[in-house]
């Protein structure tokens, strides 16, 4: 243990408050921790727990109406809490002693300057280097963060880089002045799992090499388990539990930590509620050779397209009645487009989709006219990813859930209200809240409203596009359990689109792995998740951080290269 090393930063009884119209909100309450050289403190918590505010307070970056109410943040002999938000003292400290990596690499880098000029600026300001020296140093930094061909890439702009490369540039910038403390605020949340694994590897390696102290803020218990040495668990502005990573994971004492860990570990297994598909059931939806080609560069005056892009390429699968099929893939794999193609909100360019419900004539979805499509939409429903934008803020819950019933003309007046009550009850919401508007509900509750709307017309199939990715982990499993429970009670079939292997493993019977518009592997969910056969699937699954510090998985992950396929 390296606890004998003197802490670089020690935070004592930090309080951050926000003065709002409704009163004072205590975002951070009596938080104390220490950052020691060479060690990583993982600050974990769910959204709104105050973890990001704490990190920002360390650099005096809390924006009004927020302010540091009391407490000390000692960096050597300097108390950062006393420096104020502006002035040369705090500016000299930012970047030089403490630097920060943000979540969104795109919005924290300037798009109008080359990456080189942004790093060089920091070097010249803080280290007072000349231009040539600064440039040389910037190239070294880019090499350290494993950016290939740094000599040439230094003069490129951020939009020429992928998300992972941008995050590497951010790291290079953060390291520019040899800071003693690195704060990483959700550094990999916006990245795909395989990229996440590489970036985390890099951060950890550099931190060890330089003996920096690191504060890693994340909601992902897997990431903490893989990277952190110590953990502090935040809940409603307070640190409820802190200690070495192994101790917190295996001997958690606070009930919130225990509950958090159990909901995380729950998603590492398979759902108990899972009904399993009815043996020998006929397929209810079959997709054959489905594809979508986008023409790129077609001008406003109908000029010929310069090139074309296959978002979805020759996808075929069958969904059995009562089955849950997962579609998993990284960003840009075409999984969301596939869902939209099945719903025909994006028109397919080739292939066919046949919906054959039990006891009714099969529908060729691509040839449906407007009335036919309306009948199809009654039976095949969609659950959206974003619980905030998918509910019209100007309609009450009763109107939102009742809209499909109203439009289909099946119910109105009191009968409709009764049905809405039933539906809200079905998804675990208090029916008396239906006069309220969406802004009165939390993310998880909104997602339940979205599900109630989808169930209104007694559908056969639900297509769920990342229904849990905007939710905190403890709510995530609740929504999945709700969907599984509904499946058992209503005999639904699901297509679950997700980037999250945990969700797929927990929820699905079968899974299709998509990459660059194609299905690379399809099969039984358990088999694909534990013993994948395609090298891409292997790389994908081995890159998922595992929430147990005793069995790190990421460091032993397999890598996938284009030519290894």
């Amino acid at each position: 243990m390296a606890t004998d090393l003197a802490p670089i930063i020690s935070v004592r009884d930090l309080n951050v408050e926000f003065r709002l119209r409704q009163g004072i909100v205590h975002a951070v309450k009596n938080v104390s921790f220490e950052l020691r050289p060479g060690r990583t403190l993982g600050l974990v918590g769910e959204s709104g727990s105050g973890k990001s505010v704490t990190a920002r307070a360390l650099m005096q970056l809390v924006d009004p109406p927020g302010y540091i109410a009391s407490g000390a943040m000692m960096l050597g002999d300097t108390d950062i809490a006393k420096l104020g938000r502006r002035g040369p003292a705090i500016r000299a400290l930012r970047g030089a002693d403490i630097s920060m990596i943000f979540q969104e690499p795109m919005s924290s880098l300037s798009p109008v300057h080359t990456i080189g000029s942004q790093i060089i600026e920091a070097l010249r300001l803080h280290l007072k280097l000349g231009h040539a020296d600064a440039r040389k140093r910037a190239i070294e930094l880019l090499q350290q963060v494993e950016i290939a061909d740094a000599q040439r890439n230094i003069d490129r702009y951020t939009f020429e880089f992928s998300g992972g490369m941008r995050q590497r540039v951010m790291i290079a910038m953060a390291l520019a002045c040899n800071p003693r403390v690195l704060i990483a605020d959700e550094p990999t949340t916006a990245l795909d799992v395989t990229t996440q694994a590489e970036v985390l590897d890099l951060i950890r390696r550099i931190q060890r090499e330089r003996g920096m102290a690191m504060l890693l803020i994340t909601h992902d218990m897997g990431v903490v388990a893989e990277v952190a040495d110590d953990i502090a668990v935040m809940y409603r502005g307070e640190i409820v539990e802190a200690g070495p990573v192994d101790q917190v994971f295996h001997q958690a004492s606070h009930h919130y930590t225990q509950r958090l860990l159990s909901s995380v570990l729950k998603l590492e297994g398979t759902a108990e509620l899972k009904a399993g598909p009815v043996a020998g059931a006929a397929p209810i939806l079959s997709v054959k050779g489905l594809g979508k080609t986008y023409l790129v560069g077609a001008g406003a005056f109908g000029g010929r397209a310069k090139s074309s892009f296959r978002a979805v390429n020759d996808v075929s699968f069958q969904l059995g009645a009562g089955e849950s099929l997962g579609i998993v893939g990284e960003s840009g794999s075409g999984k969301t487009t596939l869902g939209r193609l099945i719903m025909r909100s994006v028109e397919p360019t080739d292939g066919e989709v046949v919906f054959s419900p039990d006891g009714a004539p099969a529908m060729d979805v691509r040839s449906l006219d407007r009335a036919g499509l309306r009948r199809y939409y009654e039976q095949v429903r969609f659950v959206f990813q974003d619980p905030f934008s998918s509910l019209n803020p100007r309609m009450s819950v009763r109107e939102i859930v009742g809209e499909p019933l109203h439009v289909s003309g099946s119910l109105n007046g009191r009968a409709l209200t009764t049905r809405v009550r039933e539906l809200l009850d079905l998804v675990g919401l208090d029916p008396d809240v239906m006069g309220r508007y969406p802004h009165a509900f939390s993310g998880g509750q909104r997602q339940r409203i979205g599900i109630a709307r989808a169930l209104a017309l007694e559908p056969k199939i639900l297509i769920a596009d990342e229904p849990t990715s905007a939710l905190d982990v403890s709510i995530r499993s609740q929504i999945l359990d709700l969907l599984l429970d509904l499946q058992r009670r209503l005999g639904l079939s699901y297509i679950m689109i997700s980037h999250d292997i945990g969700v797929i493993r927990y929820f699905c019977d079968r899974v299709a792995v998509m990459r660059q518009g194609k299905i690379v592997e399809i099969g039984d969910a358990k088999t694909v998740c534990t013993a994948p056969s395609h090298p891409y699937t292997k790389a994908l699954i081995s890159a998922v951080p595992y929430p147990d510090p005793r069995t790190p998985r990421m460091s032993r992950r397999e890598k996938y290269f284009e030519n290894s396929a």
Binding site: G48, Y377, L391, P404, A440, D472
Partner: protein, 379 residues
């Protein structure tokens, strides 16, 4: 459910907000914008003045009195100083002596502290027909002795009361803005709406039309169109033609904003969700998309009214908009065009200009407040 309430309770808005619809939320947000609330009061006041012009004005707008040309504003005080120093309630205007300079044919008004004109509220005066319907002769304020004449804001070169003319001018100036905005709004909503909802070739055509219209130099165009109005037309016809001319050019920015809103709403998840609910096109537009825009449209309209007021004023000032005997702020300013008038009677310039500024500023602040309140779900 227990976990949901535990972890997410902090994010929930206050209990009273839960049942509040968009209008209630908008009102709450609007109230926080102090300047806008004050401006709303002023705008309402201006419209009340416009509605009850006959009652509020001491005299008719066209009542001329040759013996009182260029009479200066008379100060008002509400209490009387008696000889023994005691104060008594007696609203009155300061009086003056009139001397006529026979050579220059000019009247000079010298204040005379001994002379006062007692004023009263709700006094009987010149008969009028309220809104052209009801005969009445009650005025809010006026001299109690019949036969006395008071000019609270001065008089013009024909001895007409500037206050009365200003009040009647409010009616025309404030309403021409509204009529103009209604026409612009209809055009803007319709063309912007179909442009934004359908997109494609229709959108391209309408956008090119907007570009052509906004590329036209406005003042020469106004002058050209106004010159085309036959001289034989009465003031009312001219009034409507001017309105139409102003609004035919004013719809473009509204149309662009409406189109932008439609474009961004079309991509919203809740619109896709409505489509998946089987909702038809018309219901999507009117039930799902338009409510998200009404508040924005309201703000746009409020910001468009001052532009119309300015346009009317400048047109009339240049002599190509409204013409006497119609009374508007612009027409009043016409009287202040020559230097002599300004040097000997600055109130002719001061009051109408002040009225225009107050009205335009109030509408702008009100519009700003509405725009900030327009999207209660913005942050």
């Amino acid at each position: 459910m227990e976990q949901v309430t535990l972890t997410e309770a902090t994010l929930l808005p206050a209990a009273g907000m839960a049942d509040a619809g968009q209008w209630k939320l908008m009102v709450w947000r609007f109230r926080r914008h102090r300047l806008a609330v004050v401006s709303l009061g002023i705008v309402v006041l201006l419209y009340l003045v416009a509605i009850f012009a006959e009652f509020l004005a001491p005299y008719g707008p066209d009542l001329t009195r040759p013996q009182y040309t260029y009479a200066p504003p008379q100060g008002i005080s509400f209490v009387d100083h008696a000889a023994d120093g005691a104060l008594s309630w007696n609203p009155h205007a300061a009086g003056y002596d009139i001397t006529v300079d026979q050579e220059a044919m000019r009247r000079t008004f010298t204040p005379n502290p001994d002379k006062i004109m007692p004023l009263g509220f709700f006094v009987r005066g010149e008969p009028y027909k309220l809104w052209g319907l009801f005969s009445a002769d009650l005025h809010l304020i006026g001299p109690t002795k019949s036969g006395e004449v008071v000019y609270l804001l001065g008089s013009d070169r024909l001895g007409r009361d500037v206050l009365s003319r200003l009040i009647y001018g409010t009616r025309i100036s404030m309403s021409i803005g509204l009529v103009g905005v209604v026409i612009s709004l209809a055009l803007g909503l319709f063309l912007g709406g179909i442009s934004g909802f359908y997109g494609g070739i229709i959108d391209s055509l309408i956008q090119r039309l907007i570009e052509v219209v906004s590329a036209m130099p406005t003042i020469p165009l106004w002058m050209g169109l106004a010159a085309a109005i036959p001289l034989t037309w009465g003031p009312i016809e001219v009034y409507f033609t001017v309105t139409a001319i102003v609004s035919l050019l004013g719809w473009t920015s509204l149309a662009r904003e409406v189109r932008g809103r439609f474009f961004s709403l079309r991509g919203e998840d809740f619109v896709t969700a409505a489509r998946f609910d089987g909702v038809g096109e018309m219901r999507i537009i009117f039930r799902h998309m338009l409510p998200s825009m009404t508040s924005h449209v309201l703000a746009m309209v409020t910001l468009a009214v001052p532009a119309m007021i300015i346009a009317e004023t400048s047109l009339s000032f240049l002599g190509i908009g409204l013409k006497p005997p119609v009374v508007s702020w612009g027409v009043l300013l016409q009287d202040a065009q020559n230097l002599r008038a300004i040097s000997s009677a600055p109130w002719l310039l001061l009051w109408p200009a002040l009225a225009v500024m107050v009205a335009v500023l109030s509408f702008n602040f009100l519009g700003d407040g509405l725009r900030d309140a327009a999207d209660p779900y913005g942050d």
